[in-house]
């Protein structure tokens, strides 16, 4: 149930971004624009969008009476390594799960279809290798 409610809210956010501002809700692009283009005319809405996302768990906690579930797998070293890898990947791949997987697929973009297929398949293969081939 929470999966469907959460998914609909994600979709609603994507539709609001397009309907109000005419923009794709691609989080990697919004984050990159906020960090690397501080003098861009687009900066303020991007920063405001990210601020809205950051306060979301606080609203969740106030509404539900408990904080959202969170468990970080792996070491700090793995966090840093995978953060670097994701940063490189989304820059060359021009998007992440939100930009390609939700907004792009909803527009039937062929680039997003390929990108989503590739990153989902590689993520599943990666977990298979780490948990069942070398781990487990």
């Amino acid at each position: 149930m929470s999966a469907v409610v959460g998914g609909v809210l994600i979709g609603l956010g994507a539709v609001m971004a397009m309907g109000l501002m005419g923009r794709i809700a691609g989080i990697s692009g919004i984050l990159a624009g906020t960090v690397f283009s501080p003098s861009d005319r687009e900066w303020s809405w991007r920063a405001a969008f990210l601020a809205g996302m950051v306060v979301a768990p606080t609203f969740y906690t106030l509404a539900m009476g408990h904080s959202p579930e969170f468990e970080m797998p792996g070491t700090t070293m793995l966090s840093i390594l995978s953060g670097l890898i994701v940063g490189v990947g989304v820059t060359f791949g021009a998007g992440c799960a939100s930009g390609h997987g939700v907004c792009g697929l909803a527009r039937l973009s062929p680039r997003s279809l390929i990108a989503t297929g590739v990153f989902m398949a590689v993520a599943i293969a990666t977990v298979f290798v780490t948990r069942h081939v070398i781990g487990g």
Binding site: L9, L12, M21, A32, A56, G93, A94, C96
Partner: protein, 144 residues
Amino acid sequence: MRNIAALATGLVFGLGMTVSGMINPAKVLNFFDIAGAWDPSLALVMGSALITTAIGYRIVFAKGAPLLTGRFELPTRKDIDMPLVAGSAVYGLGWGLIGYCPGGVVPALGLGRPEPWIFTAALVAGMAAARFARTRMVAAPARG
């Protein structure tokens, strides 16, 4: 006005990520683990997000223009090139290693824990490195 709309939009989007469990890397990894502790619920998240967006986009595009700005800014490229495929593969590797995507980690910054900040710092560093590498590639003359 545009910034208030963006703040509200980010809040709705972030609440979706929070409610669905996308901000919890352990849950995301279990979704990818189809041969083990598979948690199929994130397929419902992606499915319902996609259906909502597809329907909402149709309604919004039918209006002809966004409410607060002049026009829709949409990616126009249709070609499948090497950076798209290789970049997406690299992203999938990182996502599968830790369970974090950019859309999941940004709301997690608001949890008041250090781990999401460490990941985000590395994410931005990776983006900076890739942007630098890309300018060098474009600047260098093509060789064969």
